[in-house]
Symmetry: C2
Subunit: 411 residues, 2 copies
């Protein structure tokens, strides 16, 4: 059983307070934060003082309250620094520069040449992309987060395995460090999307949620009690390769019948081929096929409706299993498939899940589409950098040491 120290609690409370400020999107007050977080007013005051002192928050003046003292209005100080989010995908590398209010200042996309995908090639593209957008802000970058597909070791910054480029144990952080003199944070897109939802999306008002990412591959991020659940070796949430159909379709992972083989973009294309071989909805690539299915379903095309219905059945069964096992408060569906098939897929999924899940946990959960307008992988990667900055002992320990004399854990 791991020991919780006062520092753990302090860091957790700091995250908690700041998440409430972001959730208020604009400005807020100590009173509102105390109400939103359930933390004591004293704790909130303490955290706010610390965040003001390091310049993360700014006071905007006072708002007259109906009764009593006017309330100081607080907001994120966007100019405190810059965060960079990098989403490394199969065909392109997306780079965003954010201010501390997580507003995108500048973005770029560097295409990935399919003939140049060695680790050195990718590192060069990342460095090049960041150089393009960092501009005059190079001195103000607090950290860089990278969303790296496949199996990632965040502690060492290693890409253990990439599904696209057959990398093995690539020490990405070590390769990047000489050219990027910032704190670097790596994890996979599922973890990144989950962090983005947790801070800025579906997790702002819910502590127990599951973020389902549906694109070429599929996967989930599980948030338990406000924290990303990682399992004992950071491999938790491998939902994409749980078994859905015994002895079913071949999956890119080499197994048969995985969830991914049915509800990913290629999986849905396969379902379309099964229902209507040679259908005119089959386009040049999976994304175009999904767009065609979505448009056709709008017109009431029976093939498109059947594809969405069957996909919703597959997804609903797989989601019901998650509902039964994790008993979460909310499940949010994001990325390509969710953007293209949206509400019709959500409705079909909900019907199937309602049948397959146990009634008690199903009654406790809501199924929703991703509310975030931005690329969640890049935003989430930048969120890793934000979390890293906020957990930084050098920035915060000296402040907290001055602010309180009781920093040791109660026995």
């Amino acid at each position: 059983m791991y020991q919780l120290t006062a520092r753990d609690i302090r860091r957790r409370n700091r995250f908690c307070v700041l998440q409430a400020v972001y959730a208020a999107s604009g400005h807020t007050s100590r009173q509102q934060i105390a109400q939103a977080t359930g933390l004591s007013f004293a704790t909130v005051g303490n955290m706010i003082a610390e965040l003001l002192e390091v310049g993360v928050l700014a006071e905007l003046g006072y708002e007259a309250a109906g009764i009593g003292r006017p309330r100081a209005q607080l907001a994120i100080n966007p100019e405190r620094g810059r965060l960079i989010g990098v989403d490394i995908a199969e065909t392109c590398i997306h780079v965003d520069v954010f201010d501390l209010a997580m507003t995108v200042l500048r973005s770029t996309e560097i295409p990935v040449d399919p003939a140049a995908t060695t680790p050195d090639d990718i590192v060069e593209s990342i460095v090049h992309g960041i150089g393009e957008v960092v501009a005059g802000d190079a001195d103000r970058v607090l950290g860089v987060g990278l969303s790296v597909p496949g199996l990632v070791e965040p502690d060492t910054g290693t890409s253990v395995f990439s599904p696209y480029w057959h990398w093995q144990q690539v020490p990405l952080k070590v390769l990047l460090a000489p050219q990027l003199p910032y704190p670097l944070y790596l994890d996979n897109p599922l973890k990144a999307s989950t962090a983005a939802q947790l801070w800025f999306g579906a997790g702002r008002d819910v502590d127990d949620l599951i973020v389902v990412t549906l694109r070429a591959g599929v996967g989930i991020g599980v948030v338990i009690d406000g924290l990303l659940y990682r399992g004992v070796t950071n491999s938790a949430g491998e939902w994409g390769h749980t078994n859905l159909v015994l002895d079913g379709r071949a999956c890119p992972c080499g197994r048969n019948g995985c969830v991914e083989a049915y509800v990913s973009a290629p999986g849905i294309t396969a379902t379309l081929r099964e229902i209507a071989p040679g259908s005119p909805l089959l386009a040049s690539d999976d994304a175009a096929t999904l767009a065609a299915v979505a448009a056709a379903a709008c017109r009431g095309d029976s093939t498109a409706v059947a594809v969405i219905e069957r996909t919703g059945t597959y997804l609903g069964v797989a989601i019901a299993n998650l509902v039964n096992l994790f008993n979460p408060r909310r499940i949010v569906f994001g990325d390509l498939v969710a953007r293209q098939l949206g509400v019709p897929l959500l409705e079909a999924t909900r019907r199937a899940a309602a049948h397959h899940a146990m009634s008690d946990p199903f009654a406790a959960v809501t199924l929703e589409l991703d509310p975030l307008p931005h690329n969640p992988a890049s935003l989430g990667a930048a969120t890793f950098a934000l979390e890293g900055f906020l957990a930084d002992r050098e920035t915060f320990t000296s402040v907290s040491a001055r602010r309180t004399r009781r920093t040791d854990a109660p026995a």
Copy 2:
């Protein structure tokens, strides 16, 4: 995000220290406890002083250490009180009286008359059973724990739904309270078995494990970071009714293809019927059939071997899904099916899980048979009472208030 208070931490540390004492099975020292728990020596000393003061622990004298001061030997004080565990099952009610070292002092079993299963009938049997075994210890009972099948609301002590008797919203605790003047704790057998493993079995040296119960029904208890995971409405871990075979066998829950329909005792009987209709291994009830299959497999009977192999494949796929989703350190299999089919089933399950699980989380987990000799549901129910006693504010707050002046949470 819920707020951790100093009291939460203190209670958690108290559980942690006491679990280490139980794990030492006999006697131990402050030094060994600090080593086993990872807690600081100061924290351990503080907890031990408190536990000695309330009489839960006793000092047995000193053992000369090789170097330095002799070490005080500590042990549970079995005479501090009595705990009662009740396992309510379909055909009988099992009652155990434990001393505080969790040694069974006396047991009894009250058969359940299939014609008398109203809540009042069952309450009468429970009270009668406890009266039979409590003997001269009535004044020393610290609490009574009850393992109640089906859906249970621990906070209100309500049996929301029983799979055997078609109860709905039975306020069991309210019905029992007038006749049992002790603190009462209710939860289902899965939660009870998990608590038993956590304190006294497979969870003694592992903080992240899954306890799989395989009998007429099947289910799991999930332990994350040393704590039973309950989900947002105490419904987490409904693995028995996750989908294993799309459009598969009918399950008693009314759905099709649930895990339970394949790996429960009746599910295995159904597999035997599929493989060899009219097989001489089919006995009068599922338990006898399992015993016949186990004995025949020992002799190399091909039907019995095939039944175990196929059951292992079903179980292995369902376990692989858990490995992928939860990434635990250990999975332990207990109850009727595991006791009867033991190692052969475990080996077949391991082979199938190795194929279906992702290699990374599979490498991190061990699959094992339940190491506990005792009825885990009754032991676990008594463990709820132990936990309740240890969390009791009246017993411990006055002591801790005397022992320390800093009991408020760090801000």
